[in-house]
């Protein structure tokens, strides 16, 4: 996770050089989070870049009450959810499907194994992957995820449980074949 956070006394007026260094340091964290959330490398790169630009624009609003990485992850999550809302049309979801298999192809071509579990993750609704990653990889609380996604904590909790059950069922089906 994050290696550094801006000094509290200087938040809101971070010098450009320090901000540049912070963003550079956190670029990988945001990209890896979005890669897991989107399961699409190109989209993850695009939204990471957009997140960095938004962070520069909105740095005055960062009050230091959370980690800098959490603040960036919140921006990235909201941008991704906005993107999904804009792309609800059917032909876009078909386009998404074809891009998703590109990740499998690319992962395997880089010499890594593509597991059944990763396939199950791909099959999930895009909005469902986000809380799962935030909860079980980054260890955020349901309240924190709720704030990031503008959802009540109870909804986040039931969504995470539902997703885990769904993957488990998928796994049982795969093992049966």
């Amino acid at each position: 996770m994050p290696k550094s956070t801006p000094n509290n006394s200087r938040i809101g007026r971070i010098p450009p050089a320090e901000l540049a260094s912070l963003l550079r340091e956190h670029y990988g964290i945001v990209f890896h989070y979005l890669l897991k959330a989107t399961m699409n490398r190109t989209l993850a790169e695009d939204i990471t870049q957009e997140t960095m630009i938004r962070a520069i624009e909105k740095i005055d609003r960062y009050d230091g009450s959370s980690k800098f990485s959490s603040w960036l992850i919140t921006i990235g999550t909201r941008l991704y959810l906005d993107f999904l809302r804009k792309r609800k049309r059917e032909h876009e979801s078909l386009k998404q499907q074809s891009k998703i298999s590109a990740l499998q192809w690319e992962t395997e071509s880089r010499g890594a194994e593509w597991t059944e579990l990763l396939s199950s993750l791909e099959k999930l609704a895009n909005e469902d992957r986000v809380p799962l990653v935030l909860k079980h990889y980054y260890g955020y609380t349901y309240e924190e995820i709720g704030q990031m996604m503008s959802l009540p904590p109870g909804t986040v909790k039931s969504r995470v449980h539902y997703v885990i059950r769904k993957i488990r069922e998928e796994r049982v089906k795969d093992e049966a074949y």
Binding site: P16, H32, K36, R110
Partner: protein, 112 residues
């Protein structure tokens, strides 16, 4: 003994974490050199500042005709009032259309 629901969930979460870690390692990231980031911050701050000035200009270009129109009406100079309203419409409508077009173009191309 048959594993409980909780055991199965925990096993799944452990496996998920392992797969996510593999994914992270497979797609390792090398961020651009620091000077590239510095120039991005510099450029972006300039863009933000310019946008703020433009918004301020737009605000005053609406506020001035409105306030002075009310003042003209209040002091009984209706000819000046109508002249100002006319100019505002002629200048304001193309400006507003331009703004809408620009924001629509930006929205459409953000992730394309």
């Amino acid at each position: 003994m048959k594993p409980t629901d909780q055991d199965q969930d925990n096993k799944l979460i452990t496996d998920l974490r392992q797969d996510w870690e593999v994914l992270e390692k497979t797609y390792s990231v090398t961020p651009a050199p620091l000077d590239v980031w510095e120039s991005l911050v510099h450029r972006q701050r300039q863009v933000t500042r310019r946008r703020l000035w433009r918004d301020l200009l737009l605000f005053w270009s609406v506020a001035v005709p409105l306030v002075s129109g009310v003042l003209f009406l209040g002091s009984g100079i209706s000819a000046w009032f109508w002249l100002l309203q006319g100019i505002s419409v002629i200048v304001g409508i193309p400006l507003a259309i331009n703004e809408f077009k620009a924001s629509w173009r930006k929205g459409a191309s953000t992730y394309d």
